[in-house]
């Protein structure tokens, strides 16, 4: 039987950091994609991570729930975003050796409909600020996803950041 959940490609950031991670030439032979990331930024403070498809900077929209461990949870939306934002990767002032984790699930990524995306992301470093941000996203583009870009907004991805792209087959 064909493998249902298969690693397509992986990336790990070395010493010195990296501007971005790009998975390109993603085969269209799977049903869904699952991107799992563990990220830290080279900025001093926390820094938002940008996820884009096919190097496109348009067509992104989302609604999210935001919890920081204190106060009332919030909810945000953006109907004309230029990327999906993972919030946030800790920077150099965050507790050492702690990384933001996220999972991005893209059903029917190679189909000819707009691409709905489900994101779960957490950042906890036993300090004063932490985030948990589930997100419902939509990339309004009927093209098949053939590449995924992961980049920080202001700095670089720090050493030991990792990204794993999996393909899921439903048959």
């Amino acid at each position: 039987m064909a493998t249902t959940f298969e690693l397509i490609a992986s990336a790990s950031v070395g010493a010195g950091g990296q501007a971005d991670i790009t998975f390109s030439s993603i085969p269209s032979t799977f049903t869904d994609l699952v991107l799992k990331v563990s990220l830290r930024a080279t900025t001093s403070g926390i820094d938002a991570t940008k996820i884009t498809f096919n190097s496109s900077s348009s067509g992104y929209s989302y609604r999210s729930i935001w919890g920081s461990g204190s106060g009332t949870p919030s909810s945000f939306n953006d109907s004309s975003a230029t990327y999906f934002q993972l919030q946030y990767a800790g920077g150099t002032s965050s507790t050492a050796s702690t990384f933001t984790n996220g999972e991005i699930y893209i059903p029917n990524y190679a189909g000819s409909t707009n691409k709905s995306v489900s994101i779960d992301q957490v950042q906890e470093d036993n300090a004063t600020t932490a985030y948990i941000v589930p997100m419902a996203g939509l990339w309004s583009n009927t093209s098949a996803i053939t590449s995924i870009q992961i980049a920080q907004t202001n700095g670089n991805l720090a050493q030991y950041s990792t990204a794993y792209l999996y393909g899921v087959k439903n048959a």
Binding site: M1, T4, Y62, R63, S75, P107, D120, A136, N170
Partner: protein, 163 residues
């Protein structure tokens, strides 16, 4: 080597249906449902989940706690002693993921995690509970408000083995 993560069944609805029920999916440790669906109703309806052993349990044996955000307001709510676990469903397609851990055990009540995402409406995460220590052998997804699941909806049931 046995496969850890297997598609048990996948289907695309050729026509609108009142509900879809999966049976006979033994032999795994956990289950995952990936459903991309919408309601035939012109406005928000309910995405219902029922399970059972031997047949679907329609008794008041379900409860759910939800955390959601519509882009402006975050909320949390809980309902208990319900006849199903109900999420929200829109006339436009949403992503639904339902994860049943240890679904076949006969010692614990059955907890399952639910994602309900529609970028035009909300992001919702929930935990459902079926108060029964019986193994789950039947799983039903339906529109709780008497409408249908749209034609073109896709449902895939995956089985995950721990060994």
């Amino acid at each position: 080597m046995p496969s850890t993560y297997e598609p048990i069944y996948t289907t695309t609805l050729n026509s609108a249906q009142a509900d879809i029920t999966f049976t006979s999916f033994s032999g795994y440790t956990d289950l995952r449902v990936v459903a991309i669906t919408a309601t035939t109703r012109g406005s928000q309806s309910g995405f219902g989940i029922q399970v059972g052993n031997g047949s679907i349990d329609t008794g008041s044996n379900y409860s759910v706690t939800r955390l959601g955000g519509n882009g402006s307001v975050a909320y949390s709510e809980r309902t208990s002693n319900q006849t199903s676990v109900a999420m929200a469903m829109q006339p436009t397609r949403s992503n639904f993921f339902i994860d049943f851990m240890n679904y076949a055990n006969t010692t614990t009540n059955k907890t399952f995690l639910i994602t309900d995402d529609n970028a035009a409406s909300y992001a919702i995460r929930a935990v459902g509970l079926w108060r029964s220590t019986s193994a789950i052998t039947h799983l039903k997804i339906f529109d709780t408000d008497g409408f249908n699941l749209i034609a073109g909806s896709t449902f895939t049931l995956y089985g995950i083995k721990a060994a």
